[in-house]
Symmetry: C2
Subunit: 298 residues, 2 copies
């Protein structure tokens, strides 16, 4: 029973119960892993893994219950290291932000600039990925905080806090027919639409709004990235539906932004971090900055 053995358990699950891969990630040889596994199972008195011959297939019910506790231990141990690092020098360290392109480009610049001024010694890692991946990054301790609009709610291991509300807009070139006249979901749906990939930046909200109106969207192109969408809107591929915050009057003067507030419900961008995770001074500051203006504490 030691930390290495517990870390091993976690890695075995992550690697699909492959001892060789787990060994590599622990900087050990495979035989050491095999032995530690035997020792642990022997100490606990019953097998933690389902086996077929010598190969590991998965966890036993016992193994699963144990793993829950192991995750707690792993988290608490990381917390201790974070607490100590914070005490040694709270102006140092790293901040790993997992988020989507839209947030990284349009929401975060200002808070990150303020953060940088206060904590010039902290390295910021911006990890861009899909919302599904982002949550996995949190769970696997590969990111400290997640910022995104979707997939952040029904997870008991996370603390999720609302960060800010925003609206979708439609963008079209000036010459586009939609630039003039009254806007409606029906009229919008009559054009090819360019918007976010499923799972990104409120795409589900868009889908629901049209679905409820009995309309089917002709999605000509979907991308994770507001800027990619803008590019193809400029090429005349159709109507772009993007986050309102992604429209930059300075750079996007060639495009007309059409307010969809009456047509598509608002979206809420949230921040999330692991429950029971120690928040270093700098991370706490960053979260406070992000929540500023929102006012709602929980």
């Amino acid at each position: 029973m030691n930390f290495t053995q517990f870390e091993l358990l976690r890695l075995l699950q992550e690697t699909g119960f492959n001892q060789s891969k787990a060994a590599t990630r622990l900087h050990l040889v495979q035989s050491a892993v095999s032995r530690q596994l035997q020792l642990l199972e022997e100490e606990l008195g019953s097998p933690l893994f389902e086996r077929q011959g010598k190969k590991l297939l998965g966890l036993t019910p016992l193994g699963e219950r144990v793993l829950v506790q192991v995750e707690r231990i792993s988290l608490a141990k990381q917390n201790i290291q974070a607490i100590a690092a914070d005490a040694r020098d709270s102006g140092n360290g790293s901040l790993r932000i997992a988020t989507t392109h839209t947030q990284a480009k349009y929401l975060l610049p200002e808070p990150i600039q303020k953060f940088r001024e206060k904590y010039p010694g902290v390295s910021i890692y911006m990890i861009q990925s899909s919302p599904d991946d982002i949550i996995q990054l949190l769970h696997h301790h590969r990111a400290d905080i997640a910022i995104c609009t979707e997939r952040l709610s029904e997870d008991s291991k996370l603390i999720v806090r609302p960060c800010y509300e925003w609206r979708h807009i439609a963008i079209v070139p000036h010459r586009h027919p939609l630039a003039k006249g009254v806007l409606s979901l029906e009229r919008l749906a009559s054009f090819p639409v360019l918007t976010y990939s499923p799972g990104f930046t409120g795409r589900s909200t868009i889908g629901k709004a049209f679905g409820n109106a009995g309309l089917t969207l002709d999605v000509a192109l979907s991308a994770a990235d507001s800027d990619v969408i803008k590019t193809y809107v400029r090429l005349g591929l159709g109507v772009g539906v993007i986050a309102g915050t992604a429209y930059e009057p300075g750079n996007d003067g060639d495009l007309v932004a059409l307010d969809l507030a009456q047509l598509i419900p608002g979206s809420q961008t949230k921040i999330a971090y692991l429950k029971h995770l120690y928040l270093p001074a700098c991370l706490e500051y960053f979260i406070r900055e992000l929540l500023k203006g929102e006012g709602k504490d929980s």
Copy 2:
């Protein structure tokens, strides 16, 4: 960073930061403790303890934050052992009940008998103590479950669940003047009273009831134990005020029980166990039995 070092931290706090005592409880010599402490502080990079010369005085702010995580680790580790023991043989093991005399004698016999029938292999340790001690026993992992009436509410580390409601009664010998006539707080207070020691079995409720009525109690004798009180009531020392459940018609026929339901508010006996503690099958069963009839789940 290993489990021994963390266990050491916990023990140092328990022993008042005395390395020698902590060493003994870890079955080590004192010099080993000294070295492990240095290694841990060196690894974390800053001191965990306030020192005066060589003597340890207490925890630094860092040390306190670390200790919180250490307690989580310790608990999770114990959980793993409990889970494994439970899986090896859920009919075996032990059940450590911390409670007061009144509960042990008048509430628990029936549930424990049922428990014993279902789990004949489980050793039951009945730890009788004061409510204050009982809570400490839980925190120090020296008891699995606490059952008592007082001091069980404002602790965020515990899960507290109401178990049953009961009332106080007054007991007097047949010849006593109080055995006849109308009962009132005033009349009761005019006699010497024998009741529970402060902190025991609803003593605070009794005190408040008389206090609110502007009466001072003449407590001739207080004891932790209903049977002791009965004994001295029989000797004519005064009026006994005890839990209604402690009156046994069979054995206490020489005493008159007077209902105090209209005079003293009811008390609630609760059960408590550590949050995040793994409940072995037998403990889960025992808790379910205790809550039966209460119906309220939370």
